[in-house]
């Protein structure tokens, strides 16, 4: 039978506030166990929560960026359950009256543009972490994370494939990062999701029974877990079985989902309004202030890049995927770089260098001015694109070193493309005579290949170009080499 897949995602995003949601403890990742805690976040008797205004602002900012309605009146609730990493025996979350409702984001999957509804965005506190290693018969509890502010972004069941789910996650991540409200670091758990998935016979109106897959922490796993789950559910349905409503866990090592608990053991969270916090009232003026301070978001930036810079959609999507990347591009263009050339330099060679060191674009040592320097040399035919790579590598390496030295309070040197070219003697040779000599040499040394080229083996031109470049140590103007080779090879008897 043919089935339609229905997916809804609950995305948890850790907010980039300096302090926790209900107390003044820091939220930094990686500190020693229980060093970032206080009586409030570890739920000591008698202490009370006080809402972090920044967390509220971040939630509103996210709501505005995803076209949500911001509730003028919202409130917190308690979600009650017992677990050692939950210090108070309840999590303070929002339930009946969340801060944001009824929004959407646009995604493009398989070349199709789709709109995914957002049911709600609410704020809540994170729980701590249980540590089971190294304790023999015991477990340890680390409450540094307890009270870290989270947003839960709940989508409508509008997603129809694992690919769309990934695109949706990627889009949300980009928006959150553009807004500066979440670092989107999935490895550290700053962004994670639960997926609800069900199948129904194509054409059927009612939804099928859903399974919930908990705590997926990478784009790849979102796709793999959902792929697996679809196949599993098809198999069950096709063999006449029924899907159980249950919570499942993704086992990334084995590449399968498995049952965690069924509906009959489902938690009764006994939600009720949190009496220790007053309801949140947000005035319209503040919302407008936040709205007017929103940055340009990916969708708008994308349209602008395509129309204004004349870039391809492919290049654009790449450049806008991270705001610092788009910013680097625009600043470099502003300093005189040709948009296409800037895009090529950044998306190709610069990212290759960063990736090799596992660095993010924020950690890039090179400045727009340096990149423009390289592009100017290419433009003026002083170096070739091939040589540009060498210049870039050298510039990257020495600048990074120089930054390292500058940390020792020595003055930072300004490393320019011009200086590197001069020092390495990398000037491109555009002297016709010199190139002609090399071309003649190569043809003379390779008569057989010259014959084959003449008899129609066009692709051998690459071989000849390579040989000439090798002879000239890569400094020849490639366009001239190409032209001369073709001329000489075809003109010979």
């Amino acid at each position: 039978m043919k089935y339609e897949t229905i997916i809804g995602l609950e995305v948890h995003a850790q907010m980039l506030t300096a302090t926790k949601i209900f107390c003044g403890c820091p939220t930094a990742f990686g500190a020693g166990p229980n060093t970032q805690t206080c009586p409030v976040c570890i739920g000591m008797p008698g202490v009370l929560p006080v809402l972090n205004r920044k967390a509220l602002e971040f939630a509103i900012r996210t709501g505005l960026a995803t076209h949500c309605r911001i509730s003028p009146y919202s409130r917190f609730a308690r979600k009650n359950y017992f677990y050692p990493d939950l210090p108070k025996g309840y999590q303070i979350s929002q339930y009946e009256l969340p801060i944001c409702e009824d929004g959407h984001v646009k995604i493009i999957a398989d070349g199709k543009s789709r709109r995914i509804g957002i049911t709600r965005i609410h704020m809540e506190e994170d729980a701590g972490k249980n540590i089971h290693e190294g304790a023999g018969n015991y477990s340890f509890v680390d409450l540094n994370r307890a009270g870290v502010p989270l947003m839960e972004i709940v989508s409508e069941p509008d997603i129809r494939s694992p690919l769309e789910a990934v695109e949706y996650m990627k889009k949300l991540r980009a928006i959150l990062r553009y807004l500066g409200v979440c670092d989107g670091n999935m490895e550290q758990g700053s962004l994670r999701c639960d997926a609800n998935i069900s199948l129904r016979p194509a054409g059927q109106k009612e939804l099928g029974v859903k399974a919930e897959i908990k705590n997926i922490n990478s784009f790849r796993f979102v796709e793999k877990a959902l792929d697996y789950e679809i196949k599993r559910q098809i198999k069950v349905l096709d063999s006449g079985g029924r899907i159980l409503q249950e919570t499942r866990l993704w086992d990334s090592a084995r590449g399968i989902t498995e049952s965690m608990r069924g509906k009959e053991e489902a938690h009764d969270y006994r939600y009720f309004p949190e009496p220790d916090l007053v309801p949140i009232t947000v005035n319209q003026q503040w919302i407008e202030e936040i709205r007017s301070a929103l940055p340009e978001l990916p969708d708008v930036k994308r349209a602008r890049f395509v129309s204004f810079y004349g870039l391809s959609e492919y290049d654009t999507d790449f450049l806008i995927s991270e705001k610092p990347l788009a910013d680097l591009f625009e600043e470099t263009v502003k300093l005189g770089g040709q948009p296409k050339a800037v895009s090529n330099l950044i998306t190709g060679d610069l990212l290759r260098l960063l990736n090799a060191e596992n660095k993010s674009i924020e950690e890039c040592p090179l400045k727009p001015k340096q990149l423009v320097g390289i592009l100017n040399l290419i433009e003026n035919k002083i170096i070739s694109w091939t040589m540009a790579k060498t210049v870039l590598d050298e510039m990257y390496r020495t600048t990074a070193e120089n930054i390292g030295i500058a940390k020792l309070e020595l003055p930072a040197l300004e490393i320019t493309a011009d200086a590197i070219v001069k020092e390495k003697g990398l000037v491109q040779i555009s002297d016709t005579g010199e190139i002609e000599k090399a071309v003649d040499d190569v043809i003379a040394k390779n008569p057989k290949e010259a014959e084959r080229f003449k008899s129609g083996e066009e692709k051998l031109i690459g071989f000849f170009v390579g040989q000439v470049m090798k002879l000239m140590k890569g400094k020849a103007n490639p366009q001239m080499v190409n032209d001369l080779l073709r001329k000489k090879l075809s003109s010979q008897p």
Binding site: P39, G46, L48, V50, P87, Y271, F272, P275, D276
Partner: protein, 487 residues
Amino acid sequence: MHEACTLTITELKDLLDRKEISVPDIVASVYRRIDTVEDRVRAFVTLTREKAMETAQKAQDAIQSGALNSKQLTGIPLAIKDNMCTKGIPTTCASKILHTFVPPYESTATSRLAGEGYILIGKTNMDEFAMGSSTENSGLHVTKNPWDPERIPGGSSGGSAAAVAADECIAALGSDTGGSIRQPAALCGVVGMKPTYGRVSRYGLVAFASSLDQIGPITKNVRDSAVLMNIISGHDPCDSTSAPVPVPDFTAVLGKDIRGMKIGIPEEYFIDGMDREVEEAVREAVKQLESLGAVPVKVSLPHTGYAVATYYVLAMSEASSNLARYDGVKYGLRSEGKDLMEMYMNTRAEGFGAEVKRRIMLGTYALSSGYYDAYYRKAQQVRTRIKDDFGAVFRDVDAIVTPTTPTAAFRIGEKTSDPLQMYLSDIFTISVNLAGVPAISIPCGFTSDNLPVGLQFIGKHFDEESIIKLAFAYEQSTVWHRRKPSL
């Protein structure tokens, strides 16, 4: 001269200002009294004698060197109910589950007292986690009524009320969720004040029912109540529910004329089953107020009959959640178990007393899916009606006057086997917490068994001034507050 321990805050401050007494003398007097009567009263769970004597000596040195003068509570020994966190001093809530707990922080209310130089005498006994109306539910021991050791002192602030009545301290703090300050104050013949919800910070008060709990003073007279209210009131950034409203000088209304003030007498508060002597004392008190110029007006609070049921649904729901943190993981009692679930269950089974368990179970039930609408949500709706009742009445009157309790102190053990009977002893105080308004209980007579009877004044939101003014005028025109139990 009277023994220092029998005096009031104001009287002691006068003597100190005139250098007719020293701080160590005051503190020594209080501890002498404790040594004499405490084994009959059993008001305290922790005494802080050494630290108190040390603080007293320091205060005296400062006074003598001229470095210290005229802080409002310098050298005044107060007792604190054991559900308010005191840094470095055990805070047990009279529960086995917390009997080893020493908080590393101070409650806002006690830290404000400390700012005025008070001396902590000890932490007082209470019903476990403030759940009860007799202090018989303490996980530690039963406190006796100083007027008759066969009888309960009321609850849950029974230790604080008994300590004040027995002159084991000059005044005390209690907490009031459904009457826990006013009811024991009435039964012990002292003054108990429950401020408007949000008037006093709850930070550091171990929560029973967060939307109802409020800290307040238990004192020997109305003036001391106003003095302590001045100190503990006011917005606290650590408590979102504390109100950012200005605090008037509550002592400024003392002695002001009450002529023409309208006092509402709600018909629903004079019920069948009420003790005849209590009713007579209250009716007599109303006449007395009338003779002072107040104008009694018959009023109606039609939803009063639902208050007890509403209160118990809401209070137990919140309590079931507030008490979830006592799970054996982080502090307090931890029992053994073969796995996590068993450890939880054993810890809570051994750590909590019967009344606490009863309330956790009922609250858990009321909040669970399928019952939430029938119980919790319905109770919230009724709560709104009760609030509206008060709002309507307060359009016509300045305060409401009622009995504080339907009977005088009952005998120890008399109601322990029937929780519902016990719950009814708060029948006149509970609506006040549901509405969040302020109320004060003061002595208004004695039964033929020589047991105190309490009179309750209920005020508008954030209008403690009216009820303090009325209570003071009444108090000054009678002698009830001067009587002492013979211990």
